[in-house]
């Protein structure tokens, strides 16, 4: 699906986990995306991040970087 949609969703998730401590927020976003996004959505956002200027905010970007470490989602 349109990757801009995925970026918007990821940023929104990040904004809602952002209550102070960045590390906790990143962990929260990572857990959320892992639990609720489909395999294709995860692969797509990881690929998008690899391609450069993503539009992802700081916390979302950090979470996707972590997500990319999971072999299952390697695109």
């Amino acid at each position: 699906m349109d990757v801009r949609k995925l970026v918007k969703m990821a940023n929104q998730i990040a904004d809602n986990f952002n209550a102070g401590d960045a590390a906790t927020a990143v962990a929260g976003v990572l857990d959320h995306i892992t639990r609720f996004w489909t395999l294709d959505m995860k692969k797509q956002i990881i690929a998008h991040q690899r391609d450069g200027d993503t539009g992802l905010n700081e916390i979302a970007a950090a979470a996707i970087t972590e997500l990319a470490r999971n072999e299952t989602y390697a695109a």
């Binding site: 699906m1 904004d15 809602n16 952002n18 102070g20 639990r35 609720f36 489909t38």
Partner: protein, 960 residues
């Protein structure tokens, strides 16, 4: 003799005369020589009835407080003067009562003589002949003559009021017993009726002595049910005559889940009468459940399967088998071409538990993916997420009766008098008893101020600011030392609480900081917080005004935080109570309709749970979540998602951003719709499987209380198959063996695989009337109140709830905020209620606008108004209302042509993608014609209805 019949011979439900009382103390007395012991507070009449002694009565009925007007129930009590009325006399220890003797017989005969001297003598042609309490009493007292004669003044020429489409008011038969007035007060809480005049001139009057339809009457029918004569009678009874058998079943409208007696003649419903033993409704109902069942036999019902290759051609009627093979063939072709994940399904939140279970099973086992979702996505999915996260279970914590023990009732983003009317009536009863009321809602909904009910605090917060205000309330409670520290320390995770406490104490979470943005004065926020926190029992009820927001899940967690903070969990009278909308939305969530969860809310990544289902279903289940409905549409537009099986949902009308939805549906290569009527979604379908109404099948529904109730078949499915049989047929055509003989077997499978349902079976449901899950070895009769000793997750978890303003903001281009909701007489997309007389009350969706905003735009009441947002534009008629504040406009979505969802956007809750229906930035201006979308919609609808007509015509022609 053996039978599978659910039928009971028709007879009136037992009536003990006055309400049952509960007490820890008992009293013992003797009535006509019979000893009886009853709870203290029980009346002599009720005690007698329990002992099998039936004291004559007319103005008394056990759904209402005693009144003492008819004077038929007089008794003699040893040592007491005169002849006390047994209905108003409490049973006393050691009382000796005589209910029948010559003196009492004379008095009673005299009373009946007076009644009958002013009553039509047309029993044989009267609709309640044989089922009339006045007849019964005339017989019981041995009335043989009326010495007054019949020539005197009387009311026999009083005119009938047939204004209400569902019942007739015939005052010539009225005995002015006041049961109807009392029912409207005590049971319903609307206070629409009164006794006008005095003495001989006394008569029942609706509002200002108006026809019922013009009055404040909400057509709940409580008065009709209470009336002992033919004065208030259902029109369907007048037309059809009296029923001969009845079946107990459950309403298919809202999440209250009222239990009904479907009173039948053969396979025809004569009337639906609320079941007094219903655990959720205790003998009450609303206009929809009681009267609006005609849709089930409406001519629009489609009863033959249909197929077509594209949506631009007529339908063809075919057999079930042909429809199944066609659908299965297309699905497999599409999966071969686009991949196994290119297809999915939507389960119905209106079909039974067994049926939704089968659809999600079909998707997981026969489609081979997890692309299944349900309408909860667009309403209470944030409840699922928020309560699971904080308390450990995706459901409300109490039963409805719990409200009677609440001292402070908080209603957030809910309009219970319209959307959960029977529960609202119960809540109003508690409010009239003195509980305080706090309402958080941008609008002045009816609960804010209604007869004998007034909110102590109404917080008219701007749409989108829920989290800010709830955080401010929590901030107040912590700051002012009103928290229940003992509860928190004992029952909640302390580290998380300490983090949360630090967070909530921040200045930006104070009432003073949020006052301007929320539009609620700081003192009001503080006052509301103090009232809730100080009450011995504080109960929070909430609805879609909480969940249908960009921070819906956050708001739910904020609510749970408040309840934990004040120790308002784990007993009666408190709790977190989501008012689930549909009759079985709770059930469809329970049954694993979400793309990330198997039945019982267990994540698909959990290997042990997967193994359990894989073994039973004999397939592999994917460990990754599937697509949610909004993401299915996104994927369809992108070309990755190509087929959809939709059971009982009308996404083209109910989902937001209609133009995006219809673009998605148009992009599908195969859509299978299973429904009762050709709804908006079916206009984009290639396969139509005719559905069955709740009257046509066996199964169970689960209401907002987690209460599982039986749905019992009263007539054969018009299309020949129940919905579960259709899903089964489709599965078989896909090559997956689904072979249940009866829905009870499906429930048995669910119980085998789901710990919270382990003890549930049809036999047990017959025994207990209904069961609130969890029901298993730890709770053999179910669980009315949850989290009593500990939370389902062990310790309660305080989640951080930072306020993030929604992207949807007003601007110069779109300076107003649109919020949406529901009304009493129409239900959801209106597919059912628009096909009944309920349209008498609400023929179209209208735009409610404050006088200030209307004046600025030159808009008068009744003008056509163009409503435009960044998503689209539609036109509705304006109504000037002070229920909305300046800057906020409101409408409903019950009629497809109003296009309310053309205007709503793709903004959604961060956690669940639940659409933000409640906040859309709009502009409104006066127009002279319908919008472009509406004009196109009319053309498209006419075309699709033409295609349907051709199918029916084609079926009548001989086959060459």
């Amino acid at each position: 003799m053996s039978t599978n019949s659910n039928f009971s011979r028709y007879q009136r439900a037992e009536d003990f005369g006055t309400p049952a009382r509960v007490s820890t103390e008992s009293v013992s007395l003797t009535i006509d020589g019979v000893d009886v012991t009853v709870p203290k507070g029980t009346t002599v009449m009720h005690a007698a009835a329990l002992a099998g002694i039936n004291i004559p009565k007319l103005c008394a009925t056990d759904s209402l407080e005693p009144f003492g007007s008819c004077r038929l129930c007089l008794v003699e009590i040893e040592g007491a003067r005169g002849l006390p009325a047994s209905c108003t006399t409490e049973a006393g220890e050691g009382m000796v009562v005589t209910s029948q003797n010559a003196r009492l017989a004379d008095v009673r005969r005299n009373v009946m003589e007076l009644y009958i001297s002013d009553h039509p003598l047309d029993c044989l042609t009267c609709p309640t002949n044989g089922d009339c309490e006045l007849q019964d009493m005339a017989g019981a007292v041995g009335l043989r003559e009326v010495r007054y004669g019949y020539e005197g003044d009387n009311h026999l020429s009083a005119e009938k009021d047939t204004s209400n489409p569902y019942f007739t008011f015939d005052p010539s038969k009225c005995i002015v017993c006041s049961r109807c007035v009392r029912a409207c007060e005590e049971t319903q809480g609307t206070f629409a009726l009164t006794i006008d005049g005095r003495g001989f001139g006394s008569k029942v009057a609706a509002s200002q002595d108006q026809p019922f339809l013009d009055s404040e009457c909400v057509s709940c029918g409580a008065c009709v049910q209470a009336c002992p004569t033919a004065t208030l009678t259902e029109n369907s009874l007048i037309e059809k005559g009296q029923p001969e058998h009845f079946v107990v079943t459950t309403c298919a409208y809202c999440g209250v889940g009222c239990s009904f007696r479907a009173e039948m003649k053969g396979q025809e419903v004569v009337r639906m009468v609320p079941n007094k033993d219903g655990g959720a409704n205790h003998g009450h109902s609303c206009v929809k459940g009681r009267f609006a069942f005609g849709y089930a036999t409406h001519p629009d019902r489609i009863t033959k399967p249909m197929i077509r290759d594209t949506i631009h051609e007529p339908w063809r009627e075919v057999s079930w088998d042909e429809a199944f093979s066609f659908a299965a063939g297309r699905i497999r072709e599409i999966q071969a071409k686009y991949g196994p994940g290119s297809v999915g399904g939507i389960t119905s939140s209106r079909c039974t538990n067994e049926e939704t279970y089968l659809v999600q099973k079909l998707v997981r086992a026969a489609f081979g993916n997890n692309n299944v979702d349900t309408c909860a996505r667009v309403c209470h999915s944030p409840t699922g997420y928020g309560l699971k996260s904080t308390l450990g279970e995706s459901a409300g914590t109490q039963n409805f009766d719990s409200v009677m023990k609440a001292d402070s009732i908080v209603v957030i983003g809910a309009n219970p008098t319209d959307a959960h009317p029977v529960f609202a009536s119960q809540m109003k009863r508690r409010l009239r008893e003195g509980a305080s009321l706090i309402v958080l809602d941008p609008r002045s909904t009816d609960i804010v101020r209604s007869p004998h009910v007034e909110a102590d605090f109404h917080l008219p917060l701007r749409p989108g600011t829920n989290v800010a205000v709830l955080n401010a309330m929590a901030h107040t409670i912590v700051e002012e030392g009103l928290a229940d520290d003992d509860f928190v320390q004992a029952r909640c995770e302390i580290d998380a609480f300490e983090d949360w406490k630090t967070f909530i104490g921040r200045p930006e979470n104070s009432p003073e900081a949020v006052a301007e943005e929320s539009g609620v004065a700081a003192e009001v926020i503080r006052g509301a917080a103090r009232t809730y926190a100080n009450a011995p029992n504080g109960a929070i009820y909430y609805g879609l005004g909480v969940s249908e927001h960009a921070q819906g899940s956050t708001t739910v967690m904020a609510i749970a935080n408040l309840a934990m903070l004040t120790g308002n969990l784990g007993r009666e009278g408190v709790g977190v109570n989501p008012l689930r909308g549909q009759n079985n939305v709770q059930g469809s969530c329970d049954m694993g309709s979400f793309p990330h969860e198997l039945p019982g809310y267990r994540h698909v990544s959990d290997a042990a749970t997967r193994a359990l289902f894989e073994k039973e279903w004999k397939v592999n289940i994917l460990p990754e979540p599937g697509l949610r409905i909004p993401n299915m549409f996104d994927a369809a537009v992108a070309g990755d998602f190509k087929a959809l099986y939709v059971q009982g949902e009308d996404v083209a009308q109910s989902d937001p951003d209609t133009q995006h939805v219809t673009a998605a549906l148009s992009a599908l290569e195969c859509m299978i719709v299973q429904d009762l009527f050709l709804n908006e979604t079916a206009k984009f379908a290639h396969v139509f499987l005719p559905g069955a109404s709740f009257l046509e099948k066996d199964g169970t529904f689960t209401n907002a209380e987690r209460r599982i109730s039986r749905v019992r078949k009263v007539m054969e499915p018009l299309a020949g198959l129940g919905d579960w049989e259709a899903t089964q047929g489709l599965a078989q055509a896909l090559g997956y063996d689904m072979n249940y003989a009866h829905p009870g077997e499906i429930m048995d499978e669910i119980a085998r695989l789901t710990p919270t349902f382990e003890g549930v079976s049809y036999a047990r449901l017959d025994e207990l009337e209904s069961i609130q899950w969890p029901c298993n070895a730890d709770a053999e009769e179910g669980t009315p109140t949850m989290h009593i000793d500990e939370f389902v997750r062990g310790k309660g978890l305080f989640r951080l709830t930072p306020y993030v303003a929604t992207d949807e903001r007003t601007s110069r281009k779109y300076p107003l905020l649109l919020t949406t909701g529901r009304i009493l007489s129409q239900y959801n997309v209106g597919a059912q209620t628009r096909r009944t007389h309920n349209s008498s009350w609400h023929e179209e969706d209208v735009l409610e606008m404050h006088a200030h905003d209307a004046e600025q735009r030159g808009i008068d009441a009744g003008d056509w108004v163009g409503l435009k947002s960044r998503a689209g534009e539609t036109v509705m008629r304006a109504v000037i209302s002070d229920r909305v504040q300046p800057g906020v406009v409101y409408t409903t979505f019950h009629h497809p042509a109003s296009g309310a969802n053309v205007v709503t956007t793709d903004n959604s809750d961060w956690a669940t993608n639940c659409p933000e229906y409640k906040v859309t930035a709009v502009q409104a201006h006066k127009v002279t014609q319908l919008s472009q979308w509406q004009q196109e919609f009319e053309e498209f609808t006419a075309q699709q209805e033409g295609f349907l007509a051709e199918a029916k015509a084609g079926a009548e022609e001989p086959v060459n």
